[in-house]
């Protein structure tokens, strides 16, 4: 529990900094049990000008989001951390990335709207299908490349810009700087029958291979 407290304490500072600046910066929560992969994804995201929080397990991710059911957000004293994207490894001990995805999509709140991307070193068609069906925004084959992150960021930013225009007015009126204002413009896109990968550049290797595996 001390560890969770540490996470919250250090991020409270970040959150306060964030509410005064970097409104246009994407905040990505990355989840991976591999130390090496955590280091790489963190760097990939930072070099792409994203704010990054990296955690080592799905459990920690839920704690960070305030969804671990160990207590209400309000007890801790802030309205939840604004996360624009969650990138999670699929195979993790304890709770898998798939289970984390399900948990997040089961939330009846803004959390459900956070795009979740699954990363996996294994190109398994049934796995990919299952994740997309459960609401994953995309499925990336590891090792993740800079081009993957850039592509993702562009997609997320497009949604955020639309939302930002809606919410900047709200924010000026409201006294609450920290209210999560996650994009709701994703919903129309998600109802498309085609898998989300069709929304991205068709030339990216990860979507190509996932498409190939569907044939």
């Amino acid at each position: 529990m001390a560890a969770a407290g540490e996470i919250f304490r250090s991020n409270l500072t970040e959150l306060l900094e964030e509410s005064h600046s970097g409104d246009n910066e994407l905040h990505v929560l990355a989840v991976d049990d591999s130390l090496v992969d955590r280091k790489v994804i963190e760097r990939l995201l930072k070099i792409s000008s994203c704010k990054v929080t990296v955690v080592e397990s799905a459990r920690r991710a839920l704690q960070f989001l305030g969804l671990d059911g160990d207590g209400e957000n309000s007890d801790i004293g802030f309205d939840g951390v604004k996360v624009n994207l969650i990138m999670t490894d699929y195979s993790m001990p304890g709770m898998t990335g798939y289970e984390l995805l399900k948990k997040i999509k089961q939330e009846s709140s803004v959390f459900r709207e956070i795009p979740v991307v699954i990363m996996s070193s294994e190109n398994v068609l049934t796995r990919i299908d299952r994740c997309l069906e459960e609401g994953a925004e995309d499925f990336l084959l590891k090792p993740v490349k800079l081009s993957d992150v850039r592509r993702l960021k562009e997609f997320i930013m497009r949604g955020e810009v639309k939302d930002g225009e809606k919410n900047s007015l709200k924010r000026r009126r409201s006294s609450d700087d920290c209210s999560p204002s996650l994009s709701t413009t994703f919903s129309p896109m998600r109802h498309l029958c085609d898998p989300p990968s069709s929304l991205f550049s068709p030339l990216s290797p990860s979507t190509l291979s996932s498409k190939k595996s569907r044939l």
Binding site: S34, L35, V36, D37, K39, V40, R43, L44, K46, I47, S91, S121, K142, P143, K145, L146
Partner: protein, 149 residues
Amino acid sequence: MDQLQRKLRDYEAAMFQQGFLDDQFSQLQKLQDDSSPDFVIEVMTMFFDDSEKLLNNISRALEQIPVNFKQIDAYVHQQKGSSASVGAARVKNICATFRSFCEAQNRDGCVSCLQQLQKEYSQLKKNLQYLFRLQQEFKAAAGSIPTGE
């Protein structure tokens, strides 16, 4: 200095040509810049520590009676993942074979793969440490590492 630069480039090129490293290593190099000048060395150091731990675990697991192939497969899967993430191509490829042996519950095959893994890993580590030393020499002489192609 030219000589050093050439030596560095040739050595690096050889590592790619001989399959020790693949494109993912180049990806890591792209992530290194002034704000993170030692990124590659930092990642590779983590990879070394991680790998040594995993190789030890696999070795011990193979000595158990009966052998827990599922556990070994899990270790090999981890090793494969981290190798892929840093571009350690030869190590990664052995892991693929290793996993088949785990699935087949073939202990001899596993033992043989472990030996190959240890050998390849050792060689890779030695080569990379030499490469890093060359880079440090160059940095000291020139002020920055060439991102040469």
